[in-house]
């Protein structure tokens, strides 16, 4: 995930601690959310802005399908 403006992480932390989000998270994952991560991300973002340290990119896990290099060739073909 590319870094976002630091204010976004602050918003995410505040949103995470809200009641509505807590309910949705419980419904989706079966447990209450852990919001500490967003706070840490915010602090890291601030540190990054100050020090310009390289943001750690989390590599994605093994994919089910292979990504395309170009869109499907027949996407725009007219219908017969």
């Amino acid at each position: 995930q590319p870094p976002r403006s630091c204010e976004d992480y602050w918003w995410e932390w505040k949103h995470c601690r809200g009641l509505r989000h807590a309910f949705h998270h419980y419904y989706t994952h079966g447990e209450l959310p852990a919001c500490g991560r967003w706070r840490e991300d915010y602090e890291a973002c601030r540190a990054w802005e100050r020090g310009r340290a390289a943001a750690a990119q989390v590599p994605p896990g093994p994919a089910v399908w292979k990504l395309r290099k170009s869109p499907p060739p027949d996407w725009y073909l007219p219908l017969d």
Partner: protein, 243 residues
């Protein structure tokens, strides 16, 4: 509420049996000569479908985000080319036909704007997957399962309200149960595979595909969430352009 099914590609019309295998029986108006303009304009189902579709594409943040994401992936969606309002069998609400790159909307089964919003989002997710990855719609059940999991997860199919309306009651982590069940049902609707095969495929890819939140970046639980995701998506693009 009807079950959504993804109608996969058929390279050639190889006969009734293969068509049945690939789910085309649910969409009897596919591969038929389109009716004349006059006849079509008299049918109010068709008009209503077109109007609701237009409303969704113009105002719904889920759909708008997907349209933007598809445009960026090189598959700009055109209303008159990539959508088709048709009559369908059974209680199917829509499908994605990768043979023609079209999203089929069941004009006889979609009666409310909120339902149209959900069906369009669901099918656009299939179209998005088709656009960005080599999805083998009709030979690889795991690929189909993955797209169905994502579509059920991200389109709002499994909100608490929708589940309650289906008389499916559950709270703790119920969203995942719903996603899993709907994915299995969708596979069984368009494939002649056993329930065990469908369940096995869904379970094998569930973790990877449930956590693949592209292009939303989050599971949108409401239009507000979707608007936020849309804004983040646009900013993401700006960030990458600046690099």
């Amino acid at each position: 509420d009807g079950a959504e099914a993804a109608s996969p590609a058929a390279e050639e019309k190889a006969g009734e049996e293969e068509e049945d295998d690939l789910g085309y029986r649910l969409f009897p108006d596919r591969n038929k000569k389109p009716q004349s303009f006059l006849v079509r304009s008299l049918f109010t189902f068709h008009n209503r479908c077109q109007l609701m579709l237009r409303m969704t594409l113009d105002t719904n943040p889920y759909a708008q985000l997907l349209l933007e994401a598809m445009k960026q992936s090189g598959c700009t969606v055109f209303n008159d080319r990539h959508f088709s309002c048709e009559n369908c069998d059974g209680c199917v609400s829509g499908g994605f036909d990768s043979a023609t790159s079209q999203i089929v909307l069941c004009q006889n089964n979609i009666r409310q704007q909120s339902h149209m919003n959900r069906v369009v989002t669901h099918e656009l997710i299939h179209a998005f997957d088709h656009c960005r990855a080599h999805v083998d719609w009709f030979k690889n059940v795991k690929h189909l399962a993955c797209s169905e999991i994502r579509a059920a997860n991200l389109s709002g199919d499994c909100t608490l309200m929708n589940e309650i309306a289906r008389f499916k009651f559950g709270l703790k982590g119920h969203h995942q149960t719903c996603v899993r069940d709907r994915a299995i049902r969708s596979i069984l609707a368009v494939r002649k595979v056993s329930k065990e095969t469908a369940e096995k495929a869904v379970d094998e890819v569930f973790d990877a595909c449930f956590n693949d939140l592209e292009p939303f970046g989050r599971i949108p639980h409401s239009k507000t969430d979707a608007k936020r995701a849309y804004r983040d998506f646009q900013n993401r693009d700006r960030y990458n352009a600046n690099l």
